[in-house]
């Protein structure tokens, strides 16, 4: 049955919603990064995944589990009244990968947050986004006390494609995180432009 819209109330604006994922190893600063730009304190949401609720095609590593609780931290940035960006910190542990597929669906891009002291923690995320063709940017969180490495050597250690951008950032700093976000969306824009005008590569 169709209801006519009530004219008594101001109609609610229905914004377009977009999401960017923030991935990286445990303790690398994902929630800090989300909090630096979010207009709300990062919220935590939990998903209890059971055999019954699990998507049938995503079984990697969880074959023997019946239920799993995963937590995601997320924030919101209202860019305009009709345009809202959500940032989702992906669960850090590898065994929750099956959840990423849902998180990743429709994501406009991703940030891989890396710590030079534990670069290997970022391999899984980089590999994941490369394989799914999700545009991503690597942001090296410059922890105080951590040795600084030149971008080129970090890039080499991560074996990044030349077109993937690598930035140094401070996950606590709003301007720094904004720059990373802009870089992700610009990269997504380049890829989207290319897919609209197919060329042989």
């Amino acid at each position: 049955m169709a209801f006519g819209r009530s004219s008594r109330k101001k109609p609610l604006v229905e914004p377009v919603t977009l999401k960017i994922l923030v991935a990286g190893g445990f303790g690398v600063g994902k929630t800090t990064l989300v909090g630096a730009v979010s207009e709300i304190r990062p919220l935590r949401t939990e998903e209890v995944l059971s055999e019954a609720g699990r998507p049938v095609d995503d079984l990697h590593g969880v074959e023997n589990k019946t239920t799993t609780t995963v937590a995601m931290d997320f924030g919101r940035i209202t860019l305009r009244e009709d345009l809202v960006l959500y940032l989702f910190g992906t669960p850090g542990q590898d065994r929750f990968w099956f959840l990423w597929d849902e998180l990743a669906q429709g994501a406009l891009g991703a940030i891989v947050l890396a710590d030079t002291r534990r670069l290997e923690d970022s391999f899984a995320a980089i590999d994941y986004f490369e394989r799914r063709g999700i545009p991503f940017t690597v942001a090296v969180n410059c922890f105080e006390g951590a040795r600084r490495f030149p971008a080129e050597s970090v890039r080499g250690a991560l074996d990044l494609d030349p077109e993937v951008e690598l930035l140094m950032c401070d996950a606590r700093d709003r301007e720094s995180v904004k720059n990373v976000l802009v870089a992700v969306v610009q990269h997504a824009l380049v890829l989207a432009d290319r897919s609209h005008a197919p060329a042989t590569t």
């Binding site: 849902e102 429709g106 969306v185």
Partner: protein, 141 residues
């Protein structure tokens, strides 16, 4: 729950560091999926995305009057009537698992009390003009 500490400790043990859980720390009084009467998937055809927004219909002006709705249903409608809320925000705000919120929102969609925006069609990237607007919006923050 994975983070429940010391599950085997005897109650009268009272070892140093042993503590009781009270109120919210003790976990929900009602098992989450009891609120959905055991259902783990919603009646709606599409799985609701985490960033899908829940928008109340005019028919949902006074959800508290509807005796068939649970308090959680009513709270979802009320939370969304100020400003549409995403599934993720509702789950965080109600302190319920996302799966439970999906089922409850699915009920409300069935009852035509709310509708849900579909963010970006699955497996598609947002179009170029939206990406440009996002960049401009981020720079202007």
């Amino acid at each position: 729950m994975s983070d429940a500490a010391e599950p085997n400790q005897a109650t009268e043990g009272r070892a140093p560091g042993h503590h009781h859980w009270f109120d919210a720390d003790a976990g929900p009084v009602v098992r989450p999926y009891a609120m959905t009467r055991g259902r783990t998937s919603a009646a709606t055809r599409h799985r609701l995305d985490l960033i899908a927004l829940v928008v109340p219909e005019p028919a949902a002006d006074d959800p508290g009057r509807d005796q068939t709705l649970s308090p959680e249903h009513v709270e979802i409608v009320e939370r969304c009537s100020e400003q549409p809320q995403s599934i993720a925000e509702l789950a965080a705000g109600l302190d319920l698992p996302v799966g439970v919120v999906r089922v409850l929102v699915g009920d409300l969609v069935e009852d035509e009390l709310v509708h849900v925006t579909r963010p970006v069609p699955p497996a598609e990237l947002p179009d170029v003009s939206i990406l440009r607007e996002v960049i401009n919006g981020l720079r202007a923050l």
